[in-house]
Symmetry: C2
């Protein structure tokens, strides 16, 4: 008997309460019973996005919503600025290139964040830039961009700001309207801890304006079609949605708001801080050197000399039932990643760090056994986590 712990930066463990909702009998997607839930989920997503803008639910992974964020707002040959700080920034570049956009790339070290001044300079030097695309939390590194500052810059230009907030939304505070974010993208399987298969996208008035002339081809991900169905009575999706996922999301969102968004963010902050402090105590190197650039969703850890990343993840999973992630793209083999998203409590962090300690001892890495988990516990005590 090996108990299972999912500690990846998404998909995340689903609570029993949400799984039970997920298992409810099918409701037809055009039925009043489902409409009620669909309207509720859409309103709750707006609250999570902190926006009055339209928010649409797409039946796809987050990558589908990233594509929707590109094809609905631009025309062939349009100039866009992509600030890339990791694997998902690279994905934005690929999508834009596939659709024939003229991509100006701002590339940063993986582990670093985008410099808002660079974005301002690029916009000043290229007044014809139609859109700025980047990540909030970059899942492949754990770094988090300063979207508030970048939003306050981009809103003074004709360009729209498109933010992939898939792994950050619900883990760290994000204010779509106050920060002037035109398009924000989220997913069901990260901080929400709902089943995989749904993504969300918000659209500002400034973005709708650009949509009017956008000529990139689109059908399934056409947000104009989504809007026309959302404006029906009752609101609907154009195509059959992931019905059970949306029903599950309703419960997952209730659980977030019952806890309180501020407490949810504080939980993610303290859990990720505990991981960071623990691994540093164990002599391990975090990938993101600058503490102020670390997000609250996932911690990337450099693999010590002489040890294989895949041995760590395999032993942790097979022998101890703890699933963490390896690196992506050019960080494959170089880092391991521990997620603390969604349905994840303090003792899940104790478990993950304990499994990591046991595994690293087995692999011959030298450090003081127990130092990691002790530091986790201290972090919780010092941050008054249990009494908050």
């Amino acid at each position: 008997m090996i108990k299972k712990y999912i500690m990846t930066p998404g998909p995340t463990a689903i609570s029993e309460e949400v799984l039970l909702e997920h298992a409810r009998p099918l409701m037809h997607h055009r039925s009043p019973e489902f409409s009620k839930i669909f309207i509720e989920v859409t309103e709750k997503l707006k609250k999570l996005f902190k926006t009055q803008n339209d928010v649409f639910i797409l039946t796809s992974s987050g990558t589908g919503a990233m594509e929707a964020g590109v094809v609905n707002f631009f025309s062939t040959g349009d100039k866009v600025l992509v600030a890339s700080i990791g694997n998902f920034g690279e994905r934005f570049k690929k999508i834009c290139t596939r659709y024939g956009l003229n991509v100006i790339a701002l590339d940063y070290e993986w582990g670093d964040t985008a410099n808002p001044d660079d974005i301002k300079n690029a916009l000043d030097n290229n007044p014809d830039i139609k859109g700025v695309l980047l990540q909030f939390s970059e899942t492949s590194t754990g770094a988090i961009n300063d979207i508030e500052t970048i939003g306050n810059i981009v809103k003074n230009y004709p360009a729209i700001l498109i933010v992939d907030a898939i792994s950050g939304l619900g883990a760290s505070n994000l204010e779509t309207d106050n920060w002037g974010l035109d398009v924000v993208i989220g997913g069901s399987q990260k901080a929400l801890s709902a089943p995989t298969g749904a993504a969300f996208i918000s659209v500002s008035e400034k973005a709708w304006k650009l949509n009017e002339s956008a000529n990139l081809p689109r059908f399934y991900f056409d947000l104009g079609t989504a809007r026309s169905y959302a404006q029906k009575t009752p609101p609907q999706t154009p195509w059959t949605p992931g019905i059970s996922i949306i029903v599950a999301m309703n419960k997952a969102l209730d659980m977030m708001f019952d806890e309180g968004l501020e407490k949810v963010f504080e939980r993610h902050r303290v859990l990720s801080l505990a991981v960071q402090r623990a691994i540093e105590k164990m002599g391990l190197e975090p990938l993101v050197k600058d503490k102020s650039k670390r997000g609250f969703s996932v911690t990337s850890i450099e693999v010590p000399e002489g040890i294989e990343a895949k041995d760590i993840t395999k032993i942790m999973r097979v022998k101890y039932g703890v699933t963490i992630a390896g690196g992506q793209g050019k960080l494959t083999g170089k880092i391991i990643r521990i997620g603390n998203l969604g349905y994840c409590g303090i003792f899940d962090i104790i478990v993950a760090i304990s499994a990591l300690e046991i595994t690293l001892k087995e692999l011959g890495y030298e450090f003081e056994a127990g130092s990691g988990i002790t530091e986790v516990e201290k972090t919780f005590i010092e941050n008054n986590y249990l009494n908050s």
Copy 2:
């Protein structure tokens, strides 16, 4: 207490066995535990498609897979032939048009089927046609195209044949390889009776050949990317899939094969025949006049003079808990549709026809009460359904 019966042509009721699988705790999509299920489901889908071709699972509704069926095989300006016999034929035309293809439309009355000779003539007159697109079962009417004959025609031309089999697959016999079908599209929520949110697509060698030069833009639905991930060890999807849906599909497919595909088809045949005979006994007109053109998935019924379609569907749903469908597109208000797909047994048909009888009596339509359900029962007895 009103018991609920879902009798639409998809999404269909999900069995308790499948719902329980659906409620299993999350497995990570890159874990060996999920890989095993993913490989099994892919193999079972090939068996259902009756193909040795590649079959991919997409996280989207069926419409997303229809788009994948277009964007992966053609280039801007390519000539395609779309045979339209209803609302989903119109959808194929819209997708092709949005992506800048040159669409030759063969339009038929809604309720009729495509004439294979027309397709042959179009191919003879337009040797530059790159693809022929049409439905197997047209969900909006219940008519079913003779895909075997059409497949045997198209395979002699350079064009590829793309078949939307979403509501037909698993209800009626379809032989991808024997009939020479290059691209076949299916969905999780029809005869499989799995949750909504997954679609499948098969690709023949002839279609892969066309894919090499296809320049239509695509990213999320790029089947070349899907293939490169399917060829990894172990096989994977490029983006996070609808994990719980695939786990549920594994059970749903097992249930189909445990019953036996031939028996599954016979069940769908007899259930739809029972609906057809019942409504004719009640003096109602089926939309598809020619019996040989009726599929086994759904029966479209013309609404009698003086009665509103939406009154029928509303009373059946609200008072009696039986959800059937209205018409789509230009048939809105003109027909009602009773589905018999998937997890649907003989007594579900008795229930649906009984609810229809009670409702029509309430709405003043004159017929002999009990004549419909009696005919349903007779159909089952005569077809030896219970002893098969």
